[in-house]
């Protein structure tokens, strides 16, 4: 029990530090890929500290509640990951976190925010089936939805779920809102939606959204690492390699339209994941 509390505290404090540093490296590597010098590695921390010091302009009274729900559900999902809880439940809690953000963006009257929120719904529609297939594939292999079961399973999951791993890397681009799927919001301003889903959040609220992005990144990296959990450090290296791959994809792709994204994700992501599950049945 006391161990669990210590692990939880370390995760809650450590995850934003790791996530922030990863985003800092992201901006630096992206700048280098574009032949620029790039900001310091600590830049995301400067951004968030600055945002915490800004005047708070709330558009309505409920907006902050949605932002906090977005953050707390993400933290809950992280705790489920580090405490080796139920994988299926983790996916649902992550979805709740996203829905809180969508409701926050929908609660204001800005058309940019609303279109951003609708596009975010389309993104969820695209990637949620793959997450469910992943949880199901894990159950089929290890006989349990528990993350504990993955860690005690003798062989790495990657050998039994290679196509689901591919599908997960594919939807990672959507989850991280990188090109070509960065249309609900983007880290670069001056797109057709201004800043999309985050347009109406400012000051502390925007800082909390950034913080949630860092937690989300750590959760996603953790889920990738689960595919190679014996030994876990190989899985972490694979997760970092996947992140680097995302950066390269981000810099060589233009944005696609949402119908193309939904179709492509269901066919490529959902299709490969389904083939993997069918193969598991045939093999057995």
């Amino acid at each position: 029990m006391i161990d669990n509390i210590i692990i939880s505290i370390i995760a809650i404090v450590g995850a934003p530090i790791i996530g922030g540093l990863l985003f800092g490296m992201d901006r630096r590597i992206t700048a280098r890929l574009q032949n620029r010098f790039g900001p310091p590695i600590l830049q995301p921390f400067y951004d968030v500290f600055k945002l915490f010091g800004k005047e708070s302009i709330a558009v309505n009274q409920t907006q902050m509640l949605y932002v906090l729900a977005h953050l707390f559900f993400a933290i809950a999902a992280l705790l489920m990951l580090v405490l080796k809880q139920d994988l299926l439940m983790l996916m649902f809690i992550l979805a709740f976190s996203q829905i809180a953000l969508i409701m926050g963006a929908m609660s204001v009257r800005s058309p940019y925010s609303k279109i951003g929120a609708q596009r975010e719904i389309m993104q969820m529609l695209a990637y949620e089936p793959v997450l469910i297939f992943m949880a199901f594939g894990v159950y089929k292999v290890t006989g349990s939805f528990m993350i504990d079961g993955i860690l005690t399973y003798p062989a790495p999951l990657l050998y039994s779920l290679p196509l689901i791993f591919f599908a997960f890397i594919y939807i990672l681009t959507i989850k991280l809102r990188k090109s070509p799927f960065d249309f609900s919001t983007s880290h670069h301003g001056h797109q057709e939606l201004i800043k999309g889903i985050t347009t109406e959040f400012s000051g502390t609220q925007l800082a909390l959204l950034e913080l949630t992005d860092w937690y989300d990144l750590v959760i996603l990296m953790g889920l990738i690492a689960l595919f190679f959990a014996q030994p876990l450090w190989v899985g972490i290296l694979i997760a970092l390699a996947a992140y680097l791959l995302e950066l390269v994809i981000d810099n060589i792709c233009a944005r696609v339209t949402w119908p193309l994204m939904v179709k492509a994700t269901w066919v490529i992501g959902g299709g490969t994941a389904l083939v993997n599950i069918i193969w598991l049945y045939v093999r057995a």
Binding site: I57, K195, S202
Partner: protein
């Protein structure tokens, strides 16, 4: 508070407003964002959204039509905020100063913190002006705190 003040000078997000400029200054402002000058190495990002911005970069002279738009965008920016007027027109109205429809620089409508002269100024001069303006964030933050405290006292009285 020291950490937040440091962060302010290291992460100024800008919004660029064109008040009837001839596009010369705008091209120089955008040039500062290119790989050649790369202002992102100072944490400067062009956000294009007043609610996220810390520094407003104004180019061009102000006329009665743009005055309203400029004031509106300025009011949407959360405190502490800075205004940087870029170019001769944003200083005094430039060669258009005597026109019947020109009010003058943006300082006729909103408080301006720093001016970058030139027609158009070089990107180096714009970056220099932006860095000089960042020193004002601390006093701005102090003024914001006093404003909030005064507001709270007023509501407490009511």
């Amino acid at each position: 508070m020291g950490m937040i003040n440091t962060a302010r000078t290291k992460s100024p997000w800008i919004i660029h407003v064109n008040c009837s400029a001839c596009n010369g200054c705008d091209i120089e402002v955008v040039a500062a964002l290119t790989p050649m000058f790369d202002v992102e190495r100072f944490g400067i990002v062009n956000v294009g959204n007043p609610k996220h911005a810390d520094v407003m970069v104004v180019t061009g002279s102000v006329n009665p039509k743009t005055a309203r738009v400029l004031k509106n965008i300025y009011d949407q920016m959360p405190e502490p905020k800075l205004v940087l007027a870029v170019g001769a027109c944003a200083g005094t109205g430039g060669i258009f100063a005597e026109c019947y429809n020109v009010l003058g620089g943006p300082d006729k409508v909103i408080p301006v913190d720093a001016w970058v002269p030139g027609c158009p100024p070089r990107p180096e001069a714009i970056i220099d002006g932006a860095v000089a303006a960042l020193g004002l964030f601390e006093s701005k933050a102090k003024a914001m705190k006093e404003k909030i405290a005064a507001k709270a006292a007023e509501t407490a009285k009511v």
